[in-house]
C-alpha cells in the first residue's frame, strides 16, 4: 500500500501534520522505511521537514550543535568533530551512514543506537520546538515524544577526553554486541576527577553505568585503579538476547571491553 509523504519547509508545520494518527517522521528512513517494507501497518504516512537548520552543524567556542537531519557520514567527515568520527563510523556500512541521521539514531532500539551512546556520554541536550531536554530524560521518555527533534547540543570534550568502542562480530561493519563511550576528566595527578560512562545494548536503550562511574572517581587509569569500576560495570543492566549475542554473553564481556577502553 502506498503511504503519503508530506514535506514541509518548517518544523512547525511538520509538527502539526504529525498529530494525525499513524504518521511518522521520516529521517533517513533506514529504520522507518524498513519497518514499512517489512509490513508494519501501524505507519500510514510519512512527514518530513526540509528546514535548513535541521541539516546544519555549528561548532563555536567549544560548543557543538548538530541538526537532527545531519547524517553519520557528515559527522564523520567534519574536521571539527574528529573526536566523534569513530562513533559516527560505527553506524552501519557506507550507504547506511549516508542516510542515517542523528535524529533517527536517538530513537533506534537496541542493538542500534551506537551514536546515541556517544551523545549520552557527552551529556548532550536534545532540542525540539517545545524546548531542550537532557538526553537521559529524553531517552527515558522517547516513546511518548511526538515533537520533532531539531538538534542535539554538547560541549566538545577536551583532547583525548572522549573514548568510544563498538564490539561487533562482523568486521568492519556489523551490529553491536555492545558499545561503550566514556568522557573522563583527570586531575593533574592522573586520578579521575569525573567520569561519564555510557553503554549500548546493555538495556533496551543506551544507559549510563552509574556504579562504575562512581567507583572510578579518584582512581588512576591502571589495572588496579579501574578494577572496582569493572566489578560493578554490569550493575543495573538488562541486555537482550538476540541473534548477535545472549544477555549472559553481553554481561560477561562488558567489563573486558570497558577495561580495554579505560586503559587504551
Amino acid at each position: 500500500m502506498a503511504l503519503a509523504l508530506q514535506t514541509f519547509s518548517t518544523v512547525k508545520d511538520a509538527n502539526a501534520a504529525l498529530k494525525a494518527a499513524g504518521t511518522r517522521y521520516l529521517g533517513g528512513g533506514t529504520l522507518v522505511v524498513r519497518a514499512v517494507n517489512e509490513g508494519d501497518v501501524s505507519v500510514s504516512g510519512f512527514v518530513r521537514s526540509t528546514e535548513p537548520s535541521l541539516s546544519a552543524i555549528a561548532v563555536s567556542g567549544g560548543k557543538v550543535r548538530i541538526g537532527a537531519s545531519v547524517t553519520m557520514a557528515a559527522i564523520a567527515r567534519h574536521p571539527d568533530l574528529a573526536p566523534l568520527a569513530r562513533a559516527a563510523r560505527a553506524v552501519g556500512g557506507p550507504a547506511i551512514r549516508n542516510m542515517a541521521t542523528v535524529g533517527g539514531n536517538l530513537f533506534a532500539p537496541a542493538p542500534y543506537g551506537d551514536f546515541t551512546v556517544a551523545l549520552l556520554a557527552l551529556d548532550a541536550t536534545v532540542s525540539s520546538d517545545s524546548g531542550e531536554l537532557p538526553i537521559e530524560t529524553f531517552l527515558a521518555t522517547r516513546e511518548s515524544n511526538h515533537a520533532i527533534v531539531t538538534a542535539v547540543g554538547f560541549s566538545l570534550p577536551v583532547e583525548g577526553g572522549f573514548r568510544f568502542l563498538k564490539v561487533s562480530r562482523v568486521k568492519p561493519k556489523g551490529v553491536s554486541v555492545l558499545s561503550v563511550a566514556t568522557v573522563l576528566e583527570q586531575a593533574p595527578d592522573g586520578t579521575v576527577s569525573s567520569a561519564r560512562i555510557a553503554l549500548g545494548c546493555m538495556a533496551d536503550r543506551p544507559m549510563r553505568a552509574r556504579a562504575a562511574e562512581k567507583a572510578l572517581a579518584g582512581r588512576t587509569l591502571t589495572s588496579d585503579g579501574i578494577a572496582p569500576a569493572l566489578a560493578v560495570a554490569s550493575d543495573g543492566t538488562s541486555p537482550a538476547t538476540d541473534p548477535i549475542a545472549s544477555a549472559w554473553y553481553r554481561t560477561q564481556v562488558l567489563p573486558v571491553h570497558l577495561g580495554r577502553l579505560l586503559l587504551g
Binding site: L5, N37, P94, I96, P172
Partner: protein
C-alpha cells in the same frame, strides 16, 4: 490515491513520472522507469544489492522514497558503459570472475565506483570498508576485492 510527480536525472537522462506517494526509489526505478540494474534482495537495508549513487553519494534505493529524489542526479550500474564499451569496473569484475550469479554485482559496482571516484588509489582496507554494506553469497568476496583493486590500477594507468 492521487499520484505524485517525480523528476530526476537517471544516468544523465531526464526522467519524469507519476508515482504512488511513498514508493521506494527501487520500485520506481525497476517497475516504472524500467531500469532493473538495482536489485531488491532484502528491502531491509542489509544486502546492498539495491545500491545506487544519488548526487555522488552511495544510497540504498530500497529505503529511499522516490519523492525525496526530486531534482537529484541518480547513477545506476546500467549507466556505466559507454557506446557498448564496459566501464573499467565492469571489465575488471568480468576478468576477475568477481561475479557468479550476478545478483550482488550492480550494488557492488556502485559501492566500488563511489570509492574510486573519491579515492582513485585505494588500499585493500579501503576496498573492504567501501564494500562492507554489500553482501555476496557466491564469490567469497576475494575476487570482488581484487577486481576493484585491478580497476583502480587500470584507471591510474589510463590517467598516466
Amino acid at each position: 490515491m492521487a499520484k505524485v510527480p517525480v523528476q530526476f536525472t537517471l544516468n544523465g537522462a531526464e526522467k519524469a513520472e507519476f508515482i504512488d506517494s511513498g514508493t521506494t526509489l527501487l520500485n520506481a526505478l525497476r517497475d516504472k522507469i524500467g531500469d532493473t540494474s538495482p536489485k531488491g534482495g532484502c528491502h531491509q537495508g542489509t544486502c546492498g544489492a539495491c545500491s545506487v549513487i544519488i548526487d555522488g553519494e552511495l544510497r540504498l534505493s530500497c529505503l529511499t522514497l522516490a519523492e525525496t529524489c526530486n531534482g537529484a542526479a541518480i547513477t545506476t550500474t546500467s549507466g556505466l558503459s559507454e557506446g557498448g564499451v564496459l566501464h573499467p569496473l565492469q571489465r575488471a569484475f568480468l576478468d576477475a570472475f568477481a561475479t557468479q550469479c550476478g545478483f550482488c554485482t550492480p550494488g557492488m559496482i556502485m559501492a566500488a565506483k563511489v570509492l574510486l571516484d573519491h579515492t582513485p588509489s585505494p588500499s585493500r582496507e579501503d576496498v573492504v570498508e567501501a564494500l562492507s554494506g554489500n553482501i555476496c553469497r557466491c564469490t567469497g568476496y576475494e575476487p570482488i576485492i581484487q577486481a576493484v583493486l585491478t580497476a583502480a590500477r587500470s584507471n591510474s594507468q589510463h590517467a598516466a
